[in-house]
């Protein structure tokens, strides 16, 4: 920041140097991951892999391989989590945004908790309870844990999306004789759809990437992609874990690149109102 008042060439060099450092800090680890994903052989003290190839990709993607099964499990859990979360979050978000609600502050506080409190105690105890009632190691158990966390985000974003819909449009439709339900279905809901899609993507990603809850509740039968990646890393199999990590990176980075298309600033401004 100190370079601002320096003469132009010096400050241009400094700007470029700082940007280059930042680019290395951000892309260095990612580039390293790419190298590992395509490395056939790579050991100390070689700076680069001795041999590149796709052997490990064949191993990851072989039919009935662990990775494909885990990918399927992860996506299936994420889809169920999104459906479950939105089913309860959309009505809740609408009520928070548009209806008169008693104990509003307390309710908002409850919906803040899962994002504002360390989740570890929750996972530890829910795993114990689920174990007793036979939900440990089941898809349903993992979906419930993911949803209790993800639905909070969904409620906040859905509520913001509904709040950003212009009330006068709803009033116009009601004045023209639409029932509350018709008005919601034909005016409010379509206008809130971009925000709702954003919340669905958030919940999907959160579920896809979730580690700690699945680590406690999913064992031993539900192996999602993050758990598979973790096991490969801890087993020292960096190729497999890097390829798995790449699979997890694709949706994360893709969403980062398009997030503002879905989450417009008018919706963002209403979050938490």
């Amino acid at each position: 920041m100190r370079g601002f008042s320096l003469p132009l060439p010096v400050s241009a060099v400094m700007r470029a140097a700082v940007l280059a450092l930042l680019a290395f800090a951000i892309f260095g680890p990612l580039l390293n991951l790419l190298l590992w994903a395509f490395a056939e052989r790579w050991y100390f003290p070689n700076k680069l892999p001795l041999e590149f190839g796709l052997t490990y990709w064949y191993r990851v993607f072989q039919p009935r391989g662990n990775a494909l099964a885990s990918l399927g499990t992860s996506v299936w859990i994420a889809i169920l989590t999104v459906m479950f979360s939105l089913a309860v979050a959309v009505p809740a978000g609408y009520a928070l945004a548009r209806l008169k609600l008693p104990w509003r502050g307390a309710i908002l506080l409850v919906f803040l908790l899962p994002q504002a409190v360390p989740n570890l105690p929750v996972y530890v105890n829910i795993a114990q309870v689920f174990y007793q009632i036979g939900l440990n190691g089941t898809i349903l158990g993992v979906v419930l844990v993911h949803a209790s966390h993800g639905l909070v985000l969904a409620v906040w974003i859905a509520s913001a999306a509904f709040a950003s819909v212009d009330v006068s449009l709803e009033e116009a439709s009601r004045n023209l004789g639409a029932s509350p339900w018709t008005c919601f279905r034909t005016v409010t809901l379509p206008l809130a759809v971009p925000g709702l899609i954003a919340s669905a993507i958030f919940v999907f990603l959160e579920s896809l990437d979730e580690f700690t809850g699945t680590y406690f509740v999913g064992v031993p039968d539900v192996t999602t992609l993050p758990l598979l990646m973790f096991n490969a890393t801890m087993g020292g199999n960096y190729q497999i874990s890097s390829i798995t990590a790449l699979l997890l990176l694709i949706p994360s980075i893709g969403f980062m690149l398009v997030v503002e298309r879905f989450l417009k600033s008018d919706v963002l401004a209403m979050v938490g109102r």
Partner: protein, 305 residues
């Protein structure tokens, strides 16, 4: 959080109140709010059952002795075994929070005040990449990047900054901090840059016209106006980092390590839920420090107008 039974009912009353049964003042109340409560009840029930109740259970289990009475022995044991890890955790999370704040202020500050449009554009494109990358992947990235024979050391040696023999593995507390900052700084930057963008540009221009340098404008004019947003982002990051299990497990699993690792170890190796829960409550207490810090700031600001 004092007893789990109460926690469960706390989560549920809206669901029960929906039944249009009672004919008294209560039903009057429900006529006005019934629809809203019915709409919100399922979401509340899910959070109540699968989040609030287990959280309350943690408090019960941590204080309950073998015979069922109240005891502090689990906490005694937790402190006995894990005081070092408690301090280790707090130090790591505090250092990370501080660094995240500094990085976020620097980047968001340049995005708001930077005088070179192309640099601003590149920076805006650049800083966000780790935004949605999960912690578990960040841990894996750093495990290979920061290792003794990892890319960082190769680049440092290649550029002549360090001798090959002095290359060392950063896979200890420093690795955890790097992974946390790498993953969490973009989030706080995003929040902060958004808040800074809504600072009245007249204030900034006025100060600039009076000859203030950009760094001055950032510290004296912009930062005070976005303090709240910065604090929210930092407190959220603080709490999040406290309960990340994957990063310390992957980067620094040996003692001293973070409390999340200890909790997982108590459960997977000893099935020791009471001490695990005592540790959980201690990390909750650390999170509460963050929350109190935030509330204190919020109330101070409210009182100050």
């Amino acid at each position: 959080m004092a007893d789990s039974a109460r926690e469960v009912t706390l989560g549920l009353p809206p669901g029960r109140d929906d039944q249009p049964a009672a004919v008294n003042a209560r039903s009057q109340f429900l006529r006005g709010h019934g629809v809203a409560l019915a709409l919100i009840a399922p979401a509340l029930a899910v959070v109540g059952l699968f989040f609030v109740a287990p959280l309350g259970m943690s408090a019960v289990v941590a204080f309950r002795g073998k015979s069922g009475g109240f005891t502090l022995e689990h906490f005694a044991k937790a402190f006995d075994f894990y005081t070092t890890d408690l301090l280790f955790t707090l130090t790591i999370v505090l250092i990370s929070t501080l660094l995240i704040g500094l990085v976020a202020i620097a980047i968001a500050g340049y995005l708001t005040l930077g005088g070179h449009p192309r640099t601003v554009a590149i920076l805006r494109w650049l800083y966000r990449w780790p935004l949605f990358i999960p912690f578990v992947v960040a841990g894996q990235l750093m495990r290979t990047f920061l290792a003794k024979n990892g890319m960082l050391n190769h680049v440092l040696i290649g550029s002549g900054l360090i001798e090959p023999l002095s290359a060392q593995s950063l896979l200890d507390w420093r690795g955890i901090v790097v992974a946390f900052v790498w993953k969490q700084a973009p989030f706080v930057t995003l929040l902060l840059a958004g808040a800074m963008a809504s600072v009245e540009s007249q204030h900034i221009e006025a100060a600039r016209n009076l000859g203030a340098r950009r760094l001055r404008v950032l510290v004296d004019i912009v930062l005070p106006q976005v303090r709240g947003t910065l604090l929210v982002g930092l407190v959220l990051s603080f709490v999040t980092m406290l309960s990340v299990l994957s990063v310390p497990l992957m980067i620094n699993p040996n003692s001293p390590t973070m409390m999340t690792v200890d909790v997982a170890y108590r459960i997977s190796t000893h099935g020791d839920y009471p001490v695990a829960n005592a540790l959980c409550l201690l990390s909750l207490a650390l999170a509460a420090i963050g929350a109190v810090f935030y509330l204190k700031h919020a109330t101070a600001r409210a009182e100050g107008g």
